[in-house]
Amino acid sequence: MSSFLLQRILQGIVIMAVMSVIVFAGVYAIGNPMEVLIPPEATQDVRLRTIARFGLDKSLVEQYFLFISNLFQGDLGQSYIYNEPVLRLIGNRLPATLELVLTAVLGATFIGVPLGIYAGYKPESATARIIMAVSILGFSVPTFWVGLILILTFAVSLGWLPSGGRGDTVEVFGIDWSIFTLDGWSHLILPATNLALFKLAIMIRLARAGTREVMLSDAVKFARAAGLSEATILSRHVLKLISIPIVTVFGLELASTLAFAVVTETIFSWPGVGKLIIDSIKNLDRPVMVAYLILTAGLFVTINLCVDIGYAVLDPRLRRGRAE
C-alpha cells in the first residue's frame, strides 16, 4: 500500500512538472500582455522600462526557470492588474468556491445515490419513474437557465432567498466562510442547488445502473437465500458493490466543478475563483492565469490520488503489494 502511494505521488509530481511547462508555454502563446498594460501613447523608453520591470525582456526559458525558482519559495508572482501577490488573490477567492462546490457535490451525492438505489431496486414503481424523469431534466436543462429561473422564482417572485453574494461570513482558521452562518447558508443554497442539479442526475443514473446490475447477481441471491433482509442487502451488500464508479465520478465532478464553476458564480455573483480567472484571461494577466491553471492541475492530481486510495479502501481486489 505505501509503495503504491509513493508511486502515485511520484506520478503526480511528474504530471505537475509537465503541466507547468505546458501552461507556461500556452499562456505565453496567447498574446503579449504589454499590448494591454502599456497605454499606446507611452514613449518607447517607458515601454522598455515597463517590459523589463515585469521581466518580459527575458527569453521564455529564462522566464520559466525564474517562475519555478520563485514557486519553490512560495511566490507565484504578482498580478499585473491588481498589483497583489497572486497567491493572496486566489487564496481570498478559493474558500468561496470550495464551500459552494463541496456543498453542491456532497449534496448531489448524498441525495442522488439513495434515490438511484431506490430507482434501481424498484425500477417499475411510480416513484422510480419520477426520479428518472427528474434526472433526465437535470441532464438536459442548461445550467445558466436553471440559475436564472431559480433567481426569478425564489429571489424575485417569492423573495425568500437573496439573489447573489456570499452573505455574512465568519473567520475560521483565518479564512472567511459562509457555511458557518445562517445568512451565509441563505446565500449559498440557490447557487449550490444550481450547481448540484447536473451532478444529482449523474449520481442517480450511476447508482441506478449499478443497483440494477448487482440485484441480479448471485451474491445478492445468495444473501437472500441466507435470509438477509432487503434493507441489509441494500445497505451492506449493494451500496459497497456499486461504490467504485460513484467514487470515480465524485472525484472527477468535484475537481472539474472546483475549476469551472464559473457560470454559476457569475449568475449568482459569487466571489469565487471562476470570476477571477475569466477576468485574468480578458486582461492577459499572465501570473494569475499560470498560477490558477497550475493550482487546478494540482487539485486534479490530489483528488485523483484520493480517489485511488478510496478504491483500495472499498475494493480489496484492487489492493496491491499486500502479502497474501
Binding site: 448471485d218 451474491a219 441471491k221 444473501a223 441466507a226 435470509g227 438477509l228 433482509s229 481486489r317
Partner: protein
Amino acid sequence: MTALTMPEGEAPILEVKDLATHFFTRAGVVKAVDGVSFSLNRGEIIGLVGESGSGKTVTGFSLIGLVDPPGRIVGGSVKLEGQELVGLDDAGLRKVRGARIAMVFQDPMMTLNPVLTIGQQMHLALAAHERVSKGAARVRSAEALTRVGIPDAASRLDAYPHQFSGGMRQRVAIAIALLHGTRVIIADEPTTALDVSIQAQILSEMRELAREMGTALVWISHDLSTVSTLASRILVMYAGRIVEEGPTAQVLRAPRHPYTAGLLRSLPAMAEPGTDLAQIPGTTPSLLNLPEGCPFRPRCERASELCAKNPPMTRAGERGYRCHHALEEAVSA
C-alpha cells in the same frame, strides 16, 4: 406421495406436492416447473437430475421462494417440517431461509460478495436470524469454517473471497448455509464449476456433514455419475416434470423411462473406449407453450400415437415413471 420410501413413523422433513412455477414472458407462458412432487426425509440425500433447461434449478429456487419475476409459483405446496411455504409472505419466508432451509449455488466465484470479508458475510448471515455479538459471531463462524474443512479458520475470517480458491469458496458458501443448523440444503450443481479432484472432496465432505448433522440434501445436477455416488434416491427431470424416480441403484441398473436410459448410455464411463458416445437425438424442447403429450416424444425411439397423451406417473414399489412404453429390462452397457 412416496409413503413407501419413508421409514415408518417419521414424517418427511420436506414435502413437495404438485409444485408449479411458470414464467409469464411476453412471448407466452413458460412452464419451467409443472407438477413436481417428492418428499425428503431427515438426513436423506436425493439427486435431482436433468439437462439444462429441464427446470431443476427453478425447482430449487421455488423451494425457498426465490423465483425472480416474471416467474411465479402458480400452484402446489412445499411443506417444510409441516409448515406450508407456498403463499407465505416475504417476512415469513425470510425467517425460514437460511435458518431452516438454505441453498448453495453453482458458481462459488459469484456467490460471495467480493468487497466484504468472509467474517463480515458470515456475521450478516448469523445476524439475519438471531441477535449475536461480534465476538460470538466470529467464534461461531470459525467453527463453521473448520467444520467444512477450512484450515486456520479464525484467521481466514478477515480474508476476502478473492483470497480463496474456488473449492475453498464453495466450502465457505456451504459453511454459511450450515450456520444455523439448517435442516435442508438445496445444492444447485455446487461442484460443477470446480475441478475434478476438488469435486470428489466436496462430495464426500457434504455426505459426511449431512450424516453428522442430520441435514437433508437436494442435490441438483446434470451429471448422473456425481449424483449416483451421493444420493440414495434419484429424480429425473425433463421439461419441468419428474419423469422417473426411484432408489439410485435401481434406477441406474434398470431405468424404466427411455430418457433416463438415454442419459445413462451417454455417460463416458458406460461406453466402450474408442467408440463414439451414444447421445440422445435432438435437444430439450422449448418450455414455451409446450404442446400436449409426452414432451420427450420427438426424441424418443419408442414413441407411438399413444404418446400424444401425457403419460401419468406410474408407480411400482419405490419406483415411479411417466411413460406409456416403459423399458422392462436393464439396458446393456
